[in-house]
């Protein structure tokens, strides 16, 4: 392990260039450690995001050596290639605000467009809903419920790159958890929202979303579930 870590960081917006830095290489550095050290001690004009720094909030997502990841949970030793350099870029498929910070608005707009929100219905329920956790629907919902909207899957998805209208894996995964929520009253509208040409049918099972999700969620199978639900609704 050499003493010095070379880091190439994207500066600018969609137009820009990589800027090279060199910082001391330490045994247990995370990529968040690296970018923070660079911003504090080498170039205060560098823009990037983080918050919790312990793998809970998803704010620090960016592309590290070509792969979308959380920088706080990425050890330099695990991703450094033979060239012993790090390359940091903003998440793909998002507009770039500046440097490593991206514009999340479209991502959350698509979440809304997919009806990724709970619909309580016109009347308050008279009593608590009883939802046994072992039921098939609840298991499907629980498998995807931990999503924190970090955008890694959206960044990894090729269809999002090819089709700007595509709702994307995160929004569709959230829609699937709600399709399986027995308390929800907006099922018909939600299925309509995710069944158009920009919805679940655009997924081609590349599975990059599943491959890169830092929480081990499998949006591919959630989207497959939506496809099946779409078939059943259209048949009925």
């Amino acid at each position: 392990m050499s003493d010095v870590l070379g880091v190439d960081i994207w500066r600018g917006t969609e137009q820009g260039a990589f800027q090279a830095f060199a910082i001391p290489r330490r045994q247990h550095q995370t990529v968040l450690d690296v970018v923070t050290e660079i911003q504090r001690e080498h170039d205060a004009t560098l823009s990037y995001r983080f918050a919790c720094r312990v793998g809970m909030c998803g704010s620090c997502a960016m592309v590290v050596n070509g792969r979308p990841r959380w920088t706080c949970r990425t050890r330099v030793n695990d991703v450094i290639g033979d060239e012993e350099r790090l390359t940091l870029e903003p998440l793909r498929n998002f507009a770039v605000v500046k440097d490593l910070a991206v514009e999340m608005t479209q991502f959350f707009d698509k979440w809304k467009a997919a009806h990724g929100y709970f619909e309580p219905g016109p009347q308050p329920e008279k009593d608590f809903a009883v939802v046994p956790p072992e039921t098939k629907k609840r298991k499907f919902a629980d498998a995807g419920i931990e999503c924190i909207g970090c955008g890694v899957c959206y960044s990894a998805c090729d269809v999002v790159t090819w089709d700007d209208d595509y709702l994307g894996p995160a929004a569709l995964n959230r829609a699937w958890t709600l399709v399986n929520d027995v308390r929800d009253h907006g099922q018909r509208e939600r299925l309509d929202a995710v069944s158009d040409s920009n919805g679940c049918q655009a997924c081609h099972t590349h599975m990059s979303c599943t491959r890169f999700c830092p929480k081990g969620i499998e949006p591919t199978y959630a989207i497959a579930g939506l496809k099946r639900a779409m078939f059943r609704w259209d048949a009925s």
Binding site: W162, S197, Q201, H204, K227, F231, D234
Partner: protein, 108 residues
Amino acid sequence: MAILFIAQRVTAFVLAAAVAVHLGTILYAVHGGLTAAEILARTHGNMLFALFYAVFVFAVAIHAPIGLRNILREWTPWRGLPLDIVLTAFSLLLAFLGMRAVFAVYGV
């Protein structure tokens, strides 16, 4: 339009069976060389054969253009009505040429 997705998946199931049969048939048929006489001897007047391949032709005429539509919409700037018109024409072409071929070997 979900109807295109559904049509493509339904024809996919049909084609899965039809292609498996077709591949098996072709592997058997080319054994030891292939002549027109051999093919036509089996297909002439064979209604079962004609029906099978008619279904095959229609399934393909639906399945292939929808697949091409996805590819063109994702990899080229082409989309909207002009694309759909061209692909409908391609679908009709496949159906026409396919049924013509079925009739040709059935012996009509």
